[in-house]
């Protein structure tokens, strides 16, 4: 018997309409755990770099995490992976909700799609019964409406559905996959789903998920619940309210948005509005939010209430569910002071199925180009004068790829280059062609420099970590903080934190030192790789300060659930393997050092020499060469010899040297900022 996982994947060939249930190799679980880890293994093995994202050979994988469907609180994430049409690299995006556990109960760990369906279809999984069904009647339908319709026509109110909207069908490069209050939005995976002619997947499962050491597992689960209660009663002192608790940032429950609205940039990642949060705004926004939020809701088996049912008939949008930050992205992108606008456009955008981070930035970018005269009334006929109306106008164009929408549907990077005429200068907030959260700060933060530059998620908002982002003002506060910091991996990290000052020698940018920075980054990203492999919500683990899951208790969860031998060292090694394998997939697709940089104006104060040193230190720390490609030795140590051999054969790694070969497919040799 397999524990925690089912031991079966579904392989769906959409071209031929073929469905197969395939037993998986337990060795892959031992090497990569599950979720993102095994997704990466499959993508490495089966999607060579020649495969275009919009080709039938690209795979779209819906995966459960290893612990999804077990009683562990918050283990409910679906990890979707494919090759991104926007970045041309591996894209993976996670969503909470109810899909992954349902898939486990149906008896599958993953659903792997290949090929392209001749007509629009959806997949219906009901335990052992799996069928590809016609979806012609769902064409152009909104994501939520599609889910309702499917449940109705199947007569299965308990079916869990994930669907794309019009944007996915039209292959908008930032189309999302929506599932109730959750979505897998980043990297354009909804576009790949649309390209495959797959409108939705619907799942109903009624089988058991087994646990290897039941009593022990139950005990661990109870400890986590107890700690969640403890944290509810003990918010972190000295940080803004939005950072004091656990879960996703509590955007639906908390009205106080001073921190986001005054620290993050508005418009096309352009303006800081440090005095935005007035008493009057605070009052208006509270009123709007209280009117809009009907109920706070949760994902499967999790007490955190990060989502909400939004019901605001006066706005003219039907009821929908929202989580987290999309409440603010459109408001801030449109420079609108009006939270009602945010609730209205987010509801519409969700039905169309676009990413709530990228979409408003692309729109803000278009508005800026118009104001700069690079786009004119010729390209934007009938463009409204009011900024909020402009956003609605642009949304309609983008999701239909009509007129200027055809270009904007590719995101700021590609659109800027197609529009030309100086538009490139307005592509000012992307990393590796992907829009980032609009934060523009003063002083370089070395930890975030590395996480921004090198993160494979290519998305800072989801790689934040358990280390506070700035030091506390006094040593006493810092010493107080570390007293019950059970989540820290070791004493060293605590020491780094205690000695970290706001000003003076031990402050940004030279503190933490590159060596310390590498260790902090390694820890923070390790936590994310663990979560994304086991299906744990980052909001209870890698993301917030002092979460209930951490590097010390997760190995015990894995051991008790699966029966595998597991300890902290082993877990670090597995995540290092997964991190390195994903690195290799992207290196094989051309990723090089030159791509590893934050937006130029992310920090006002930049330090080219220090930044080069940070990258050098980090690559060395990881066992990668100076182009950021894992060396053969590193790969061999992680049991990935076959990856090393492939990189050699392709000339991406060369014999006897750790540097990238001159024949590497990178566009140009790396331009180092120093030396």
């Amino acid at each position: 018997m397999r524990y925690a996982e089912t031991g079966f994947n579904l392989e769906i060939d959409l071209t031929r309409g073929n469905i197969e249930k395939v037993a998986t190799d337990p060795k892959d679980t031992a090497m990569h755990l599950g979720g993102l880890g095994t997704n990466a293994k499959i993508l490495w093995d089966r999607v060579p770099p020649e495969v275009d994202p919009f080709s039938p050979e690209n795979l779209l994988i819906f995966s459960t995490g290893l612990l999804c469907g077990t009683p562990a609180t918050g283990c409910n994430r679906t990890i979707v992976a494919t090759i991104s049409p926007q970045t041309q690299l591996l894209a993976y995006s996670m969503m909470g909700g109810f899909l992954a556990p349902e898939l486990k109960y149906a008896g599958y760990d993953k659903v792997i799609f290949r090929g392209k369906s001749p007509g629009l279809v959806y997949l219906w999984i009901h335990d052992d019964k799996v069928e590809i069904r016609d979806a012609a009647h769902l064409q152009g339908m909104g994501t939520l409406e599609t889910a309702e319709r499917i449940r109705e026509e199947l007569g299965e109110p308990k079916a869990q559905v994930a669907a794309i909207g019009l944007a996915g069908e039209k292959r908008v490069y930032y189309a999302s996959i929506e599932h109730g209050r959750s979505s897998a939005s980043r990297g354009g995976i909804g576009a790949v789903m649309g390209d495959k002619g797959l409108k939705a997947i619907a799942v109903r499962g009624t089988k058991d998920v087994n646990i290897a050491s039941p009593e022990r597992y139950f005990e661990l689960c109870n400890e986590v619940l107890k700690y969640i209660q403890h944290r509810a009663e003990n918010p972190i002192k000295g940080v803004p309210p939005i950072l004091a608790g656990i879960g996703s940032p509590q955007e639906m429950a908390i009205h106080d948005e001073k921190w986001h609205t005054t620290s993050f940039a508005w418009g096309n990642a352009r303006h800081r509005r440090k005095d935005f949060w007035t008493k009057e705004i605070a009052r208006q926004w509270r009123e709007t939010q209280e009117k809009a939020v009907e109920r706070l809701i949760s994902c499967y088996n999790c007490p955190m209430k990060c989502g909400a049912i939004i019901s605001y008939p006066a706005l003219g949008v039907s009821k929908y569910m929202m989580k987290c930050y999309s409440k603010l992205t459109y408001v801030m992108g449109a420079m609108a002071d009006d939270l009602e606008f945010g609730f209205k456009i987010a509801g519409l955008a969700q039905e169309y199925g676009v990413d709530g981070y990228t979409a408003p930035q692309v729109m803000a970018f278009a508005v800026e180009l118009y104001e700069a005269g690079i786009l004119t009334d010729k390209e934007l006929p009938g463009f409204p004068a009011d900024n909020q109306e402009r956003f609605f106008w642009l949304l309609e164009k983008i999701v239909r790829r009509e007129g200027i929408g055809e270009v904007l549907a590719k995101g700021t990077y590609w659109a800027a280059r197609e529009i030309g005429n100086g538009a490139e200068a307005y592509d000012r907030n992307t990393i590796k062609k992907h829009e980032q959260i609009p934060i523009k700060l003063g002083m370089l933060n070395p930890v975030y420099f590395l996480m921004y530059s090198t993160g494979a998620k290519i998305n800072i908002t989801q790689i934040e970590g358990q280390m506070p982002q700035v030091p506390f003002a006094t040593r006493e506060e810092r010493e107080e903080f570390v007293k019950d910091w059970i989540q820290a991996p070791n004493e060293k990290i605590k020491e780094f934190f205690v000695n970290w000052e706001l000003r003076g020698e031990n402050s940004f940018p030279y503190y933490p030192t590159p060596e310390m920075t590498c260790e902090i980054v390694e820890w923070q990203e390790t936590m994310h790789y663990i979560d994304d492999a086991v299906g744990l919500c980052a909001g209870l683990s890698s993301f917030p300060i002092k979460p209930p899951y951490h590097i010390h208790n997760i190995p015990q969860f894995i051991a008790a659930a699966t029966g595998m031998e597991m300890d902290e060292d082993k877990l670090w090694e597995i995540t290092r393997r997964n991190r390195t394998l994903i690195r290799a997939i992207n290196a094989r697709r051309g990723l090089r050092r030159k791509d590893e940089k934050p937006p130029q104006d992310h920090w006002k104060k930049r330090f080219p020499e220090l930044e080069a040193k940070l990258l050098d230190s980090y690559y060395r720390f990881k066992g990668w060469n100076e182009e950021g490609i894992p060396t053969r030795e590193t790969l061999a140590k992680l049991g990935l010899d076959y990856v090393g051999a492939d990189l050699m054969e392709r000339g991406i790694l060369a014999d006897g040297e750790d540097a990238a070969s001159a024949e590497a497919p990178a566009e140009a040799p790396a331009q180092k900022e120093t030396n």
Binding site: G205, D208, I211, F218, R295, I297, N301
Partner: protein
């Protein structure tokens, strides 16, 4: 004799539907607790508590399983409470032919809440950090004749079996079982 009162403990779960966040932790832990061996598996489809939920109608009702009933109700009423329309079944605890709730998925046998016999309080209550489920015990005075003796309890159980399968079949089965012993 007949007017003598006896005390009886009534176990209840007080359900606050406004507090339910729809996470279904109650279903998870219920099915884990009742697995054999305990906690060795979980499967909400085996749970003896279900969250009847329709997010877009803002309906979230945790219901725990009551008695098995052979036939569905003759009429199905709708209730409107605070402007929300509820199907009467949404509040019903019966394992009944009209719906999938409270039946073992493989055998179709009815499920019934046992308040997690042996635990201090039902585990669904302990796992509901939203406090939508609150366990309460209250003492009620009942006339002695109302308190079933073990013998009466047994007879009642047998009667209902006899009603379902016929007395003859029950006698045959008991006879066969005692031979096997």
């Amino acid at each position: 004799m007949t007017d003598e009162k006896k005390k009886k403990i009534i176990k209840t779960i007080r359900i606050d539907v406004d507090k339910c966040n729809g996470c279904r932790a109650c279903e998870v832990i219920c099915s884990a607790f009742h697995a054999e061996p305990k906690y060795s598996s979980n499967n909400p489809a085996r749970s003896r508590i279900r969250v009847i939920h329709e997010p877009l109608r803002d309906i979230y009702i945790p219901v725990y399983a009551g008695e098995y009933t052979v036939a569905e109700c003759a009429g199905r009423d709708k209730y409107t409470i605070d402007g929300k329309e509820y199907d009467e079944c949404a509040f019903c605890r019966a394992s009944c032919p009209s719906r999938v709730e409270f039946k073992e998925p493989d055998s179709g046998l009815p499920l019934k809440c046992d308040m997690c016999e042996g635990e201090e309080e039902p585990l669904c209550v302990r796992w509901c950090l939203a406090d939508a489920l609150i366990y309460e015990e209250r003492e009620e005075e009942v006339a002695e004749e109302d308190v079933l003796t073990e013998q009466e309890d047994l007879e009642l159980g047998l009667e209902s079996l006899a009603k379902k399968y016929g007395l003859k079949q029950i006698i045959d089965t008991v006879a066969r079982m005692s031979k096997e012993d």
